[in-house]
Symmetry: D4
């Protein structure tokens, strides 16, 4: 089975690369997708549609241009890994989790132990909670067993 895995959430650390490398090292038949992870580019995704004086509308336009990509990729994914780091609000990651829960799209969370309590609703609907990218790769290895 070719598994399509969407990597949602934190964009400031190397977790996506670690998972991609782990999958490659194990020669797993997994295709990874993700949102645009260049923070500045993501915030500016709608700028070419016209300048805004109100930052709410600038954000609004960029979020929706990003949604064109993310909605399509989430639809075609078999599984999501949703990463919560130790900085920022990361409400978009929790939003993706809720979106998946409503669609019965399986997801696993990746986060440290100290944020277990605020993530309890998100974890409750996840199929697994991983603390490390190695654990995510282990899950993928298991899912891909012949």
């Amino acid at each position: 089975m070719t598994l399509t895995v969407y990597l949602s959430g934190e964009i400031h650390t190397t977790w996506r690369d670690e998972i991609r490398k782990g999958a490659a090292d194990n020669e797993l038949d997994v295709k990874f997708t993700s949102p645009v992870t260049d923070h500045a580019a993501s915030d500016a995704a709608g700028d070419h549609l016209g300048a805004e004086t109100d930052s709410f509308w600038r954000d609004h336009k960029s979020s929706k241009v990003n949604a064109i990509r993310t909605k399509a990729l989430i639809q075609e994914a078999d599984l999501l890994v949703i990463r919560f780091g130790d900085k920022y609000k990361q409400w978009n990651a929790a939003f993706d989790a809720g979106y998946c829960a409503a669609l019965s799209k399986p997801y696993i969370t990746l986060h440290a132990e100290d944020i277990v309590h605020p993530l309890k609703e998100v974890d409750a609907m996840a199929l697994a909670w991983a603390r490390t990218t190695d654990q995510v790769v282990e899950i993928l290895k298991y899912v891909e067993r012949p």
Copy 2:
């Protein structure tokens, strides 16, 4: 039209009471529902099912008992108001927003201006962003015009 409105999110301020009072003062035909808003009770919702030594599982059980109530109420709601305050992570509120977005269930957000940027994905799929509970009541008045 009797409108059923689910009030999701922050549980430490009086925003729910303000909206209920505003609707009552205007004699609106609106029925409000909400999660259990007693924080301690909510955290302990699963405790009677057996003690846990690992706090992850305690949270897990309580989240799911809460989900019995919240899933049923969200299903029957015509509209959600999702409140983000200035404290805590509030990932459950963003989770509810994503859940609604996937089900095409309309929601509006209620939050201050200083968190517009981190909420941009959540606001992008909302039908309105209100800064005050008065604005929410105004929306309900409009929706309920004869």
Copy 3:
């Protein structure tokens, strides 16, 4: 059977009143709903959420506040009557028709003969085309036969 009928489209003539009166005269068990039909109020539906300098965003906010009402009412309707008059673009009426078609929600159109050609895609998915409000009332009478 109590039939819930949503009256969509043109807001500048008395067609809604004619249908309501015809149903009342025939003592039909029909409940009618509609968008807010006060044009100025509808355009201003989002104004209380804050002034906009760009008219695109003013329209955007008002459209979405209106959508809170219209989406809920369309969901609960058994049937829509969608009216196209001889003025204005009326793209919102065609939008409602497409929305219903995708959801397999039955609708009938009400319009004069001279706009049959541009409405051909809209009429193709309708369950009836009526030229007069009397014809709509006749349909309702038939649907409500004991």
Copy 4:
């Protein structure tokens, strides 16, 4: 990601060619689809099924033969671009927008500034509004970033 984009709406200008060319110039992995854009052929799509004396039924048959193609292509599209020009009623374009909105199928609109007001309900559910075909190509470039 191979993105499948359905180009809906106006058939009397070169906007589809401009977008196709822009995508080709940028070597984007995008597959474009569209309705039959030969106006006379589209109006005559049902003629071979038997002549009609009433133009309503001629239109009816042709619209439905066209729907065989358009429904299949819209189903398989990841994104729609819906174009509104300055001529004709174009209710079919607004119908497609409503159809997509109900199915949570992402679409962007392409139209000039002077028809913002009558398109407000259509734009309210779009993920972007573009004024030029270059802006559409920019969106596709962004969505297709590696």
Copy 5:
């Protein structure tokens, strides 16, 4: 439980009355609905929308006006009884059965033994096959046991 039962199919015998009487005699909490069973009225359901010279279009219009009623009633039914008699083609009854099968809406068939073979696909997806109206009433009594 109040059970809503739609009685589909044959309109030339008294089977609907027998079932209604059986349910009343047993004081069952069942609400029965049905299409318009006056054959001439049903065929003429669209006539008031304008005369047609081609009988195909007359049938077409009447079928769709009937569909306004039947689609709404099938949607709200918990169960259908679909009756096949010994006359006529009765393709509309088989159509209703297929419609229910696709929606996972439960239905039972009511027909004599000599048409078991041509009805095999219809019966295969039914929850029961009854030969007599008494058997249908027995099923309703069982379903309504306290």
Copy 6:
């Protein structure tokens, strides 16, 4: 576009071959599927699962084994052609039409003019009615225009 077309209904004439030949002659990018059209084999599809003394159950088992194939093929089809001939009850063809109608799966009917009246409900939800296989091929040619 590769169009997948399921050919449902009558199995005693050469209509399927005529359509396949017409598509081949026109080099159309169409893939045709169909139920098992060997009548004896179809009736015996469940026989190897054990003999039945009651012909109802023999039919029942064979219908369901056939449904494994037909349900899968209808799901993956973009379009159905449903053929009604002049013999037999053909309730399975009307059943397929209803099944498609409920799933918003497009279908066209193929039948002679003398059975227009009993097929009115089936035709009402079809996207076209063809009298000849040539007309079906013409539709496919149109749908497949570049």
Copy 7:
């Protein structure tokens, strides 16, 4: 909130009565539904439709008559309690759990500790696991908090 709770599974002990009594003692606004729990009647539910010589078909007919009731009640339930006792195979209870999981219908399980391992897939998708009927009542009390 009036909560509708379907009580699925074991029919040889008094667990349903205990839950009903617990809810009544606490004056909870809960409506309970269940399959027919008279074992002999349930096995004979299809007998009046004609005798069968093969017990497979007798079971088949009765199961389907039971399904008329159970499918309707599960559809209208907000929550299921699914009970596994210490006797019999109880595959129907696990079947109901899978049915709910696919429909995102919330359920809780009620069973002793010694069958945790064979029920692990069923429990994994449940919102709670209760060991006693008192625990079920506690959950209902929590869900029904004002």
Copy 8:
């Protein structure tokens, strides 16, 4: 047609190999998938996510990691074969059957005659009941007829 068939249930006998061999011997265009059938590995699927002192949670984690694989494979299957052997509770197999029933995903059961009675609800929604793997292969041969 390439048929994708998921083989669910019993993991202690060679039934999967027999069906694979039968399909290969007949050169059928069938792709088989299955859960991880190594019992010890399956029970330990979540162990690498952290040790658990309570066996309920160990089972819980492993079941969910398994669900990542099984949910994805069931979604993409055209047909399931669900096997019940003579040992163990096998509630997971009945759970899969219920899951399929709710999604209208076709399945056939494979089991001996002596467990017909407890499997009656599961068999009632199946498209076939086979006693031997040869019978399953016969079904696949029939479904795959050209």
